[in-house]
Symmetry: none
């Protein structure tokens, strides 16, 4: 067992795709200029990955869970707990967590889902919510603001369930919703109680915020008041073993998305913030690459995610997606030049496909390539969906990745004698 | 989500095979002249499919179940319920169903398993059975004739089990059998009761039919009397969710085999009969193709199966099998020319291999190709076991097909956020 090996999981968010007519039937990954990825494929071991299983479109949360070896089909109970953990709430098993928007309503009608992208005063609004809506029935309410109009909320108490419909109507100009138990709720009583508490939360928050000084100031300044909070994305927190406990690896995460960052905190990984990592196309990919390289000094595993490719996919803008993929490639180029590959393994993949033609996540497999320590290179010449399909790694599922990586690191335990 | 997409599952029954010396070591699919399949492979995404799992020979029933996403390892309890449903009996969960032959016996010796392929009068014989053998102990007996000597029978009552040996000896010239509980029956008491009722059924049916006017007439005409019914293929009916409920898809089935048709009815698919679809080598494949094209007008999913290739395999007649495969190809050619592929995905495969050298189903993987909407084409040039093995789809199991297809249709639900 070599104990000084390290591994990098490098994820281009939503980087997988489908052939595009205008790109000569290439995918965006295939069309992009990616000398680093191509070297990784050429000198490494390639394959395709199904984050969940063939044909199932994965979310970023479920895919990262699977890649880190936590079976989402067993443990995933909604995104709320990761969001809440991401903004710093100490989420505990059994809690039901929500992501929230500060929004503007007139009567019940949502006139602005983001309250004019409010960027000041939400700490004071949150304090008012904490003081006045700290408890509903026997349920403790924990509320924490995040950046701009975003926030997270946790309900803590007996007999709660995430199986409730959302308050947020997702569209402006319509009424916000009354939460109800999901039709197929397994814990019906829990869902009923949770929906009741949630509706009461929204009602009382609206009362507290309507004439709050922050909103009086906003009205005077001609800005829409943040006079309500719209919860969505309910999730029940489950007890997940830390990554350190599960694999004995000191792990770090360098990502741009709160949701994934929340998962990292949930797994007790070191979540490292990087200046200039914006989550957009203007992100500083070299700063991310340097941070990964530095994190390797005192971590066994570093997971990095660059968000930009996913944005191009969701926008259906393949030029934007290609530019984003080329940024991912530059970060990889830095790592190729600076990391000690005699004791480091890197895996380059996507957490899911976001084909420009689909403008959403799809269930197509994504390319994957392993490079460096412990790999068995094949004769694939380029990174991409079709080239990688011919690689030695075959078709892997997300849940198999940690076994494959710990083996390449020489840290997998023998099963048997 | 694109909601106006459609998908075709096109199955050449038993079309998979093994290399044949006399065919220059090609399989029958590889040796056949199949311009349509080859175009589908060339412009589509290829792979191999294991209907159940590697090496397990599948029946047509278990394979079609798996391809439609109903796990046969969980839900399959014998073919009887599908046969019974196929002939129009309202099978209910808990029923034990059998397929039956009208046959000719002298004493206990079966002299003709098909009663001279009797084609008239079985409705009157069935009526006599219903009148005289409608109930045994506390068990209701439901009996329905099908084409020629075929029929189906259902036992309905408390505490029954399909785990019983057959009455039908499957060979002429030997005695018909006494049903007994299977040695490894899990529900021993249920199997004992069922065997007892079944033996009593056969005894009383023989009594009722022996001197029935229909048989008196047959004897006068020098024909063997249909003086007994030989049940086989016991199966317990289970509660299967309809395909519409499971996937939200309006589905049709255009097949030539009662067994598969019964499955279609069981899943509440629209089972469409096509004039000229004989189930033999003389079948009108163009009528089937046209029916598939028409069914796409008001269905989201159409499953078609052409039976003929399987017959050639069972007969060990590779010339016959090649001719049958070329018929399948002509049907596919019609579809290639007439379907709107911008919104349609087709999957072409076999439900199992029936290699001519084996003359029965085998557990070898079968070629699979996806073409049209939502596919990621690879560089496979021809349809066949060996060419498709190099395709981007890798090795799929039957149970993964519906996930893969609904994803290609853009109708798969995202798991996670």
């Amino acid at each position: 067992m070599e104990k000084n090996t390290r591994t990098i999981i490098f994820i281009g968010d939503g980087m997988g795709g489908l052939p595009i007519d205008g790109l000569d039937s290439q995918t965006t990954v295939e069309a992009a200029d990616t000398p680093a990825m191509d070297r990784i494929a050429r000198e490494g071991a390639c394959g395709l990955m199904h984050p969940i299983s063939p044909g199932r479109p994965a979310g970023s949360d479920t895919s990262h869970m699977a890649i880190l070896g936590y079976d989402p089909q067993k443990y995933y109970r909604g995104r709320g707990p990761f969001e809440a953990k991401g903004v710093g709430i100490d989420v505990r098993p059994g809690d039901v967590a929500f992501r929230c928007n500060f929004a503007t309503v007139e009567g019940r009608t949502v006139v602005d889902r983001r309250a004019g992208r409010i960027d000041k005063g939400t700490d004071r609004l949150a304090e008012a919510i904490r003081e006045n809506v700290g408890k509903i029935e026997d349920v403790q309410v924990i509320f924490e603001p995040s950046v701009e109009h975003r926030a997270a909320m946790v309900l803590r108490g007996e007999g709660l369930s995430h199986e409730v419909t959302e308050i947020d109507p997702h569209d402006p100009g319509v009424d916000y919703l009354e939460s109800r138990p999901l039709e197929d709720a397994k814990d019906r009583a829990g869902a009923q109680k949770t929906a009741r508490v949630l509706n009461e939360f929204v009602r009382r928050v609206h009362e507290v915020l309507e004439d709050h000084p922050v909103n009086e100031e906003r009205r005077s300044a001609g800005k829409p008041p943040a006079n309500i909070v719209l919860p969505r994305g309910a999730g029940t927190a489950v007890d997940l073993e830390s990554l350190k406990d599960r694999y004995g690896l000191d792990a770090a995460m360098i990502v741009e998305v709160d949701l994934v960052r929340g998962l990292g905190k949930y797994l007790d990984m070191d979540v490292i913030r990087v200046e200039g990592a914006t989550g957009g196309l203007n992100t500083d990919e070299m700063a991310i690459a340097k941070a990964v390289d530095e994190a390797l000094d005192d971590h066994d595993l570093v997971l990095a995610n660059i968000k930009a490719p996913d944005l191009g996919g969701h926008d259906g803008d393949c030029e934007k997606k290609i530019k984003a993929i080329e940024k991912v490639d530059r970060a990889l180029g830095y790592l190729l030049d600076n990391v000690d590959w005699d004791r480091t393994t890197i895996m380059v993949t996507a957490d899911h496909a976001t084909p420009c033609a689909v403008m959403d996540h799809s269930g197509h497999p994504v390319p994957i390539a392993f490079f460096g320590h412990g790999t068995c290179p094949d004769d694939v010449e380029r990174y991409g969906e079709r080239p990688c399909a011919k690689g030695i790694m075959g078709h892997l599922r997300g849940m198999q990745i940690m076994d494959v990586l710990t083996n390449m690191m020489g840290r997998a335990e023998k099963f048997g004698a």
